[in-house]
């Protein structure tokens, strides 16, 4: 399985994202899509992708959607997740977010994580927008 065209590896990732990557991103018309290829290190006891890994990845894609839509860095305040189907090891998984509403301080985001065959995880999140003048920190 190779990485689909247009995706660039997020080489600036550090810490948790780097330890559980590599993660990839494609930006198309102001819309960011993230992808990763799950391996054995992402599996749970059932041999499918761990729910915590899926949660972390969708969260990152939803935060990125805020940045690409509003040009603001954000931190997650609340995230609500529904597990729809298993993520398979070796399947390319993608996640993306859509900003549904926002004001000066908060953004409401809908997120979706899916594989080649079906949706895996649905998310709804509230993100706190950081001040524009604050030193931007890479989000991953």
């Amino acid at each position: 399985m190779s990485i689909p065209p247009g995706f660039r590896q997020l080489t600036e990732a550090t810490g948790f994202a780097a330890a559980n990557g590599p993660w990839f991103e494609k930006v198309e018309g102001g819309r960011a899509i993230r992808g990763f290829l799950p391996g054995p290190q992402h599996a749970n006891a059932l041999g499918i992708v761990h729910g915590g890994m899926l949660a972390a990845f969708l969260d990152s894609a939803m935060g990125t959607a805020v940045f690409h839509t509003l040009q603001r860095r954000a931190v997650t305040l609340r995230l609500s997740l529904d597990y729809l189907g298993p993520g398979r090891i070796g399947d390319w998984l993608q996640a993306e977010g859509e900003v549904m509403g926002h004001d000066e301080h908060m953004a409401q985001v809908r997120g979706r994580l899916y594989g080649p065959r079906h949706d895996v995880l649905a998310g709804l999140g509230a993100f706190a927008l950081l001040n524009r003048h604050r030193t931007p920190k890479t989000r991953s």
Partner: protein, 174 residues
């Protein structure tokens, strides 16, 4: 992760490392993210099941705080593994739905603990509330719905707590 890292984690009294991958050649996610520990206390007490871990750099975000993904992973485990232990089930409970409120950050060196409270158990579902804390401060509030598989289901992987914890988990539900 090798046992030599336990000294770096310096877990508080009573915590034993959970071996999620007994006999498995490749570490799965629960081992890959770092050492996780569990402590079992008397039935019905706040400490009946406690999960814990020491925050290291590889669990953090670029800002240097504990990554939300790590918090969510541990909360998920506390809801399923801890929740099943609290109600006396020895099955793998797949997570159906979770909601997380990120109420405070944690930093490198902090010892984080996770506890579950069973809200309701039905024939097919287990509802729990989970808190992650550093000392007495809550850092994450989570709400979980897990599925209880019919039949024997799968035992919780190959995860193994210390012997006392296993014996406690084997007690029939009261």
């Amino acid at each position: 992760m090798p046992d030599s890292t336990i000294s770096i984690d310096n877990p508080p009294e009573g915590f034993r490392r959970i071996d999620f991958d007994r006999g498995r050649p490749d570490p799965t996610f629960n081992s890959h993210i770092g050492n996780l520990y569990a402590k079992r206390g008397p039935k019905g007490t706040r400490d009946e099941f406690v999960m814990g871990f020491r925050v290291h750099r590889h669990m953090c975000n670029p800002a240097g705080g504990l990554h939300g993904g790590m918090m969510m992973t541990v909360a998920d485990l506390v809801g399923t593994m801890g929740g099943s232990a609290l109600v006396g089930l020895r099955k793998f409970l797949p997570t159906v739905s979770m909601t997380f409120d990120f109420v405070a950050p944690a930093k490198v060196g902090d010892w984080v603990e996770g506890r579950a409270e069973v809200v309701r158990q039905t024939r097919t579902l287990l509802f729990t509330t989970i808190y992650l804390t550093v000392d007495e401060d809550k850092i994450l509030r989570a709400s979980s719905i897990a599925k209880i598989p019919s039949g024997d289901g799968l035992a919780f992987g190959k995860a193994r707590l210390d012997r006392g914890a296993e014996m406690a988990a084997e007690r029939p539900p009261s």
